[in-house]
Symmetry: none
Subunit: 142 residues, 2 copies
DNA sequence: ATAAAAGTGGGGAAAAGTGGGGAAATATAC
DNA sequence: GTATATTTCCCCACTTTTCCCCACTTTTAT
């Protein structure tokens, strides 16, 4: 399972190295649009569980169609190459505003990929609000 | 199973390449009129299952009759040629407002074929609602 | 300090995408 | 019925993108 934070570059071919610590679980992975302007990266195994659920929603309702288009069409299978890198497709880089410098963070069952600038901003704000955010944890008994 | 999004062209003969990743499941396929102004493309196998379901809808309701007429009468068998392309008949291209540039998206058990402009519009709107969409994840237990 | 591992960049072969010519099949005209 | 036109389908050729490999630099470990 993934924890920690790493700073990596995206090269001119759209490739980004997966932190070495995370590679053993990630021969095949799926990247998709995440919340708060970052990308989510799941192992194939984790992703399949989620995708099955989404795919089984009825096509008759317009909001479930919209939802599967967001989650499924937004996703992309990626293989890790010999150097431990994945190619992030252009539409996902655009979605997350990724330039060269990116931050990769581990969140137990997924990775998140952030543009460095956005992450710094978010993180600063987040640290400021950590006390009030923590209050919400009450609900789940932490 | 299909996920991801690809940008391909329709040529002057009405041919469109199937993304290489999707071809192995699609020697024989069925294209038909879809919802929200796009085309649905199923493997023959998936289509047969769906067609059975639609055909079993009661003929007493006018809206189910209309739906069967859309999906069943609109359907067309297509073969994938040696270069991995299918021919989209004129009436379907017209239905979906397809010009040269199209987007092909994978939605697990079907593909959707969109005019690029329409997709951009739809997708942008959809992404705006991504936060409220995320709430729906609760409902399917993610 | 040296060796090993991780991260980064780029060249070249292979695959994918695209466009078009021409044969076979079908349709239309005389 | 034959000849001409039209459409469909298969194949070839070109361009672009992707993928795999090698090489160099930087960081980590001993």
């Amino acid at each position: 399972m993934f924890v920690g934070q790493y700073s990596h570059n995206i090269d001119s071919k759209g490739r980004m190295a997966i932190p070495a610590k995370f590679r053993h679980e990630l021969k095949k992975a799926v990247v998709t649009k995440g919340l708060d302007n970052c990308l989510f990266l799941y192992s194939k195994k984790e992703w399949d569980k989620l995708a099955e659920k989404i795919a089984s929603l009825p096509i008759s309702k317009s909001n479930t169609r919209a939802f599967s288009r967001l989650m499924l069409a937004g996703a992309m299978d990626v293989d890790v190459d010999g150097q431990g890198r994945v190619i992030l497709p252009e539409y996902l880089r655009k979605f997350a505003g990724l330039n060269k410098q990116t931050i990769i963070i581990g969140l137990y069952n997924r990775l998140e990929i952030w543009d460095e600038k956005r992450w710094e901003k978010y993180n600063l704000e987040n640290e400021k609000n950590s006390v009030s955010n923590a209050e919400a944890l009450d609900d789940i008994g932490v």
